[in-house]
């Protein structure tokens, strides 16, 4: 079985060189895409594949930023409020503001951090 190198593993991790298993299920991605609008008609075969990687990048970035909040609080458990704080502190995640606040966040978040200077790897 091929061993993916550290870097190539990140790039191709999950494709296994073919349309093999991805980290995220393509059918589910397609379903969510279709649900995003009444007028989303056809989706190219490659779209879910691009999204599977994009979602991976997104999850990593969101998690990294959230974990920074956790560390600031000298905690080891990443909780929902940390995610909410990361969202509030990052312009890129503006589209998530309503989502994290309606999840029942009491609004007593820690003071906003300057996370936008953080460069994601």
């Amino acid at each position: 079985m091929r061993q993916a190198g550290t870097y190539s593993g990140i790039l191709s991790g999950g494709i296994s060189g073919k349309t093999g298993p991805h980290l995220l299920p393509l059918a589910r991605i397609k379903k969510i895409m279709k649900k995003s609008g009444e007028d989303v008609k056809m989706i190219s075969g490659e779209s879910p594949i691009v999204f599977s990687k994009a979602c991976e990048l997104f999850i990593k970035e969101l998690t990294q930023r959230s974990w920074m909040v956790t560390m600031q609080g000298k905690r080891r458990t990443l909780n929902k409020e940390d995610v909410a704080s990361a969202v509030m502190a990052t312009d890129l995640f503006d589209f998530l503001v309503n989502l994290v606040s309606e999840s029942g966040n009491s609004g007593e978040a820690p003071p906003p951090l300057e996370l936008d200077t953080f460069t994601s790897s």
Binding site: I43, E46, K53, C55, F58, F95
Partner: protein
């Protein structure tokens, strides 16, 4: 708190008594928490005719797996945090797809393509994602390329569940031998035509065992032009 079961909760004396009934509280704690769990379950809304919750989100196990790749080994993640990230992913997909679809419509196209998605990412601020995604997509296309060009005969045994796939005629077999990894542009173009999204008069009938050596594609995408 379930301590109120002792009756008159407004009576401060009772409350004081409750506080000192440490043993009772502790022994009841298990019951109380069980009760509240039961209540929580019974008040959950039943799944309706809309998409079930699990259909609108990425599977949580997959989400967690990706999160753990980033976090240090000792890190813990609360259940609520996992769910929140799960919801954020779906929101991300919808957000990008909406923008990509808008672009499609403005150009009178019906199919959302990978390029539309990359465009949307750039427009919505996810510039940093574009390069790694482009590299990923290129590698994917190359691997698909190898699959279809090198294995003309075995290709038919493989399925691709996503997007329309052109099945090349059996005539592609002679071009298999000794084909190197570096694909020519013509072949890449053909591969792109094979893969989803480019519904330009693809030849469904062309796959019917035509023995001709002519390319089954449009002239400008003749994949075998170099081998004639």
């Amino acid at each position: 708190m379930g301590i109120i079961q002792h009756g008159d909760s407004s009576n401060s004396i009772n409350n004081v008594n409750n506080i000192f009934n440490v043993t009772d509280n502790v022994s009841n704690a298990g019951n109380i928490s069980n009760t509240s769990n039961t209540n929580a379950v019974s008040t959950m809304p039943p799944p309706g005719p809309v998409l079930r919750e699990q259909d609108q989100y990425m599977p949580i196990a997959n989400v967690i797996r990706i999160m753990r790749r980033i976090l240090p080994p000792h890190a813990k993640i609360s259940d609520e945090a996992k769910e929140t990230v799960q919801e954020c992913v779906s929101e991300f997909i919808s957000f990008i797809t909406g923008e990509a679809n808008e672009r499609c419509q403005s150009e009178q196209r019906k199919t959302v393509t990978a390029e539309d998605i990359l465009y949307a990412m750039g427009k919505l601020g996810f510039d940093d994602y574009i390069e790694p995604l482009t590299v990923y997509l290129t590698r994917y296309r190359q691997s698909e390329n190898e699959r279809t060009s090198l294995r003309g005969d075995t290709f038919l045994k493989r399925g691709n569940a996503y997007g329309p796939m052109m099945i090349p005629p059996h005539g592609v077999a002679p071009f298999n031998e000794g084909f190197q990894e570096g694909m020519t542009d013509a072949t890449s173009a053909a591969a792109r035509a094979i893969m989803g999204g480019y519904n330009h008069g693809a030849h469904p009938g062309g796959a019917a065992g035509s023995s001709s050596q002519q390319a089954p594609f449009d002239d400008d995408l003749d994949p075998f032009v170099e081998f004639k």
